[in-house]
Point group: C4
Chain length 269, copies 4
């Protein structure tokens, strides 16, 4: 019985398991949409009570699901303190707290973290594999990205301070941190325009910052592309793939297709 | 007779067929330009009647062309419900409706869809092949792009909600959807500046969003580049090419150069 | 004598030829800077006469140079109607016209074209070769870029018209051309913020346009990168290099290192 | 004794050397943060004296460190006039000058250069190597980047002048340099919106500039990616790696792992 429930709740191999996942994804998406709508004052005033009712419906649904997950795994504590265990818990606790303490402003933020639960349910093999390829390329290039980010941040610091000295408080550059904020806005080519250089010298320095930001965008792109291209040349081995199996002991995922025991708690899969 | 007309209207192998295509492309471009000009109030007031007359001229021209296309193919219904058949129909219907119902505001939008007809006429072999290479690279990388888009949208949701909590309604972040709109504007480095963070904490979070948006642009670029480079390594086989032949039965296109029967209705090409 | 002058003026093989080139580049850069300064009203009021004198000095210098070039080549007319021959002429004519007709406003624009002369002088072998590699990669990928640009422009047209219908004149979208201008500003991630969507539906459509513009930036980058990478794999053959030789007959450039006769007029090099 | 101190101060091989480096990095980061905070008027008014005291603490710390570095190397003058020797000196001098001359506004800028000292301490082998790979790819592609930048700057000059003529002073384009500033802001897709085209013709030219800037971003990315990918294909040789050894004679770094003598002053390492 427990093994069967585990199959349904944690895995997506059986028809019932797939249905469970689809229902769960829709529940998550609808409940996140409710959080969005609740924050719009006009809608909250009109349909506040309906949203409140729906919120409670989904909270109870997710509570039942959380309890089932706890019951079904052999090591409930291990699941409870795992990353997704905490996300699962965080998606139900805020609603109970607002029952006692009605100011839900900050809890809206925590409730929106539910959106991350979609990823845990999305265990469709193809997407999982592609995500792994991307993650691996990013991981392999992390040293280069850190070096690049360090260099960019140094330039941003020095340019921000330079603009603070050149433009001064009367043109909106009231402090070095504000100059750094401007340098980030400019170098990433966002360009809000809330702070813009007014003096001739400031505009010359700003032009250099822009051309620099425009040009060095090539560097992270080059890093990631080179890693992804390198990945193409290697044959896709068995070790690259992961199964949709979930450990019945601790609920952990990401096991290799040929794995017969959980790599975290040693239980047979 | 019908076979000959089919050759001229649907294909670009003969001199007459090429002339037909060139005349059609110019008619489409001019009629789309008329839609643009009609929407400018000043020009509409001055030259309204001339534009109205020209619009009717092109509508009748496209109606004749549409009827010819229907007559020339063996299975008119099949053509009529195909994608390009519907685009062809949509480019003439709105003008007739405005004859009965004069408020053409919304029909301008449908009439501008005519611009898509250019692609159906542009069957010049070279461009068609290049477009296929691009489409294939995009198709092959669709799983990676969906995973990437999912991750980006989650970050945008969480960051938008965070800014709503930090900045609040007094700084323009009136609801979470509006925060999400700001997060999209910032992360894609568009940066209108209509909503911009005012508090120190908000500007720090915004800086992180910008650097993130600037950096992860590398990921889709890397994905597409790696796919396009991989395409370079493979020999361009016969199967990659498509002929400019169009099926005389249903008007469908995109047949292989060695195809002798339509892959959709089985008629000989 | 003429052969010697030709060596100095058109080529950069000898020491005198190199000196001539360096003096010419500095003259061009200074005279372009003068055009910039002349357009600044405050500087024009203060140093107007000095700038005027310097402008005449450079005009006479470039006139002498132009006459020398005409005298030194065997087919002066052929040089005069070549691309760089026209640029050379355009850099001196406007100054003489302003002598007769004093409103120099529009001629400032033509005089700034002098900046293009720098490229004709910059015949340093290394840069020339690198420029050739870039140009070739861009040329090889021109079909893909045209297909991409066509698709992007269609999306821009349709999105611009959609926003015109959704937002309407009261939110700044006064006509479809203006909507298209907004779509270009948004899709290229420039984002001035002079026109920004105000309605909820408009902001949703704008979000899609932004994500689209952010994502498809990957496509041209992928195209160019794949071409440049492909170039890396090929051995750099003799035919890829070009010499700094200039034809004594017509002044044309870009000859192969092993060329003994001008490919355009047949004169021995 | 001196050899031992040299090991600790200049290198990171021993445990003490690593501790020294970690303490130094934190001192640099904290002292840079103090400069940032000092520039914020509100914080300066509240905690001015504490920041002043902390600044003196770090200045004395860095002075002691600088003196130790001078004492420990065999050729102090050579170290003093090296790049990092000057950075080390510049990070302590401004504080002493403000003791005599209290207006610290401009010296804040020099003191923020301290952030560059982090790079000299960060000699962790892995990062150093990755930084080398990036630098080499950038160096190898410098000719292509210069050619590209030259072409872009020419387009920016010509477009800036064109917009000055089209839009004129009444729409914010008061001079050609200002038009060039606008062209840089637009072409790099920053788009502050402080100067934006108002006339129809100006908006058409601006659209071309935007599409150009959006498209040619592909070129530098392509250049850097192609270089980084080429680097992948080559085997990583010994010559590519550098050790964390620092010369006891002149304090210079970047020696090969198999180097036994300093390549700059000939001292044994």
């Amino acid at each position: 019985m427990r093994a069967k429930l585990h199959e349904i709740i944690f895995e997506a191999d059986t028809a019932t398991g797939k249905w469970f996942d689809i229902v769960l994804i829709w529940s998550i998406l609808i409940s996140v949409s409710l959080v969005l709508l609740e924050s719009v004052e006009r809608i909250e005033n009109l349909y506040g009570s309906q949203i409140y009712a729906a919120e409670w419906f989904f909270t109870i649904l997710f509570t039942i699901e959380y309890c089932l997950r706890l019951m079904v795994v052999k090591r409930p504590l291990r699941y409870a303190i795992s990353f997704y265990g905490l996300v699962d818990l965080l998606s139900i606790v805020p609603s109970y707290i607002t029952f006692i303490h009605p100011d839900s402003h900050y809890f809206l933020l925590i409730r929106i973290l539910r959106v991350m639960r979609v990823f845990r349910v999305l265990k469709l093999a193809q997407f999982n594999k592609e995500g792994q390829v991307l993650l691996k390329a990013l991981l392999r290039s992390r040293h280069k990205i850190i070096v690049f980010l360090g260099a960019v941040l140094s330039v941003i610091f020095i340019m921000g301070a330079t603009m603070y000295v050149i433009e001064g408080a009367e043109n909106g550059f009231t402090s070095i941190p504000r100059g750094i904020y401007w340098a980030i806005v400019t170098m990433t080519t966002v360009g809000y325009g809330d702070i813009a250089p007014q003096t001739t010298l400031g505009q010359i320095v700003a032009s250099i910052v822009m051309l620099l930001g425009y040009g060095i965008l090539a560097v992270p792109t080059g890093i990631v592309t080179a890693e992804l291209s390198r990945g193409n040349l290697q044959p896709a081995g068995v070790a690259d793939e992961i199964s949709t199996q979930s450990c019945p002991g601790c609920g952990s995922e990401g096991h290799n297709p040929d794995a017969r025991y959980c790599r975290l708690c040693g239980d047979p899969l």
